[in-house]
């Protein structure tokens, strides 16, 4: 009975996050569900507290990163990136795509996939429109790289942040092991997008970048981001948790940009932070009542190449069914038992896998199909074809690259 209740609460959390009903906000369902599971005794309050203690620093880390990225936006970093991309493209769509790749891969790696999806992609669309060239290849590139270029650092994706603590790796070693898979993922995206949009990218844009002024570099923001990154690497050497480095970076941006306090709070997305905490507790309950055993039965153990490949594929499948956040919470405890190699292979799966669908998971896709039954908005066929060309190849090649890195680094 406990198993069923825990799974029903987990399903309710995911349904609320996917369907976003007005009367039941996802953060409310997740927090309420967590409290309910403790009240009815399915999860002991000690276990709930342990789950919160484990997630607390990660959620604080996330909040600091969101505030840091918002500070970069206020400082004009993304506008400057847009102007820089336009200038660097010299009016040629092929060169613009190269600029977009640099900007999207860099933004994702350093400021997380949220920054690429929410802050950079609209700028890329506007830049392509102003250059009077087809925006499709460039927007698709942003959309894909937000996922596949999020392999590099613990800060590149919330899934990485969650796994970082469990992996026991230092910030620098995490980045060192994931550098090769990251480059391989970006390389595969480049080859597939270049070939798929060869016609669009082959000609020169019809408008020379005449009205483009040289962008004003947001030097302070760039310095803060650079110092924060350096701080992440150094923090593990001197024994400071990287969350404090992120907090210092966020504070520096807030002091400099002086946004209204309510804007700082809304940039940190408190509702999302509550959702992550609530979901973490609910998954802990479900894991204790059978879910962990089930995952343990499916997931291979060990860090030989076939085991790592299977971990990546299973993780990609779960991420595609449910979305990568719950997939990470569910698989992580089992993968962590096999060591850091398995945790990183899981990250290859949950980060690269969601490119198969344009909404990140089948659950979201199905819901959208139900709500927008006659909606012709997104060219699903084309996006899915690009996903089929990149995802299986990336899962295989990135995991092999990870395995190589594990032998060497």
């Amino acid at each position: 009975m406990s198993e069923v209740v825990a799974l029903v609460v987990l399903a309710a959390c995911l349904a609320a996050a996917v369907a976003r009903p007005r009367w039941a906000p996802d953060w409310g369902v997740a927090a309420g569900g967590a409290v309910l599971l403790v009240v009815v005794g399915i999860l002991s309050s000690a276990d709930a507290r342990a789950a919160l203690r484990q997630l607390g620093p990660t959620v604080g880390f996330l909040a600091a990163l969101l505030v840091l990225a918002d500070g970069c936006r206020r400082a004009g970093m993304f506008d400057a990136l847009g102007a820089g991309m336009a200038l660097g493209s010299r009016g040629r769509p092929g060169r613009l795509l190269a600029m977009v790749f640099l900007a999207a891969a860099g933004t994702t790696a350093v400021l997380s996939l949220d920054a690429t999806v929410v802050l950079l992609t609209p700028i890329v669309f506007a830049t392509a429109a102003r250059l009077r060239t087809n925006a499709r290849p460039h927007v698709y590139a942003c959309s894909h790289l937000a996922n596949s270029a999020s392999l590099l650092l613990p800060v590149s994706n919330l899934t990485n942040l969650l796994a970082f603590r469990a992996s026991g790796l230092s910030f620098a070693r995490f980045g060192g092991l994931m550098a090769l898979p990251w480059l391989v993922a970006i390389g595969i995206e480049w080859v597939v997008l270049r070939r798929s949009f060869a016609g669009d990218l082959g000609r020169s844009a019809t408008r020379a970048p005449r009205a483009l002024e040289r962008p004003e570099l947001p030097t302070f923001a760039l310095a803060v981001v650079g110092l924060t990154l350096a701080g992440f690497v150094l923090s593990s050497l001197v024994g400071i948790a990287p969350v404090w480095v992120a907090a210092a970076g966020a504070v520096a941006m807030v002091v400099r940009e002086r946004p209204a306090p309510k804007d700082v709070v809304s940039a940190a997305e408190p509702a999302f932070l509550v959702f992550v905490l609530g979901l973490g507790v609910v998954v802990r309950a479900a894991s204790q009542h059978g879910l962990s055993t089930a995952v343990d039965g499916v997931l291979p153990h060990g860090t030989a190449l076939p085991a790592l490949l299977l971990v990546a594929v299973v993780s990609a499948a779960v991420a595609n069914l449910l979305n990568n956040l719950p997939a990470t919470l569910i698989i992580l405890p089992v993968a962590a038992a096999s060591g850091p190699g398995a945790v990183l292979a899981m990250l290859v799966g949950v980060n690269v896998g969601p490119n198969l669908t344009y909404v990140g998971s089948l659950a979201t896709l199905l819901w959208r199909r139900i709500v927008h039954a006659h909606d012709q908005e997104t060219d699903m066929g084309e996006f899915t074809r690009l996903g089929l060309l990149t995802v299986p190849a990336s899962l295989l090649a990135c995991t092999v690259a990870l395995w190589l890195a594990l032998q060497v680094v």
Binding site: D114, V117, V118, R130, R132, G199, T206, Y358
Partner: protein, 160 residues
Amino acid sequence: MRAVVWISEDTWEACVDHARSLVPGDAEVTLLHVAPTDVEDLASHGGARLLGRHPPPPSGPPLRAIADEEAQALLGEALKRFGQSAHTVARRGKIEREVLDACAGADLLVLARDGEPRLGPKSLGPRTRFALDHAPCQVLLVWPEQPPGLDTIPLPPQLR
């Protein structure tokens, strides 16, 4: 005679030039631009793909305003290059469907190859291919630059 000239970002100049030289002077010409809403949607509502996140809307003018402004500017330039009287129409939606819709009752559609610059099926992108295959009228299909030579056709296998 009613002619629709499809104005798209990368190939519009060739369409306008050929329409001017090949379409009869007394024809009623419409210069048509379609903004693809799916790309705009993916760019502006990407946050909806991130589970549990509710990011504030992006700052700056909405992408739709930028797309509309650029479409009008492009149609203005196309009209100037055409140099004769013509209607201009800006539509939004799924590109190939909107183009075909705009061809209802027209006698001619002028469109350009938008694929690879060599002879063969890849010289047409998927949307142009759809419009060409389903056009309910005569079609004038032009090359955006000088047409490539016959030597760009791959040799038949037995001659390789």
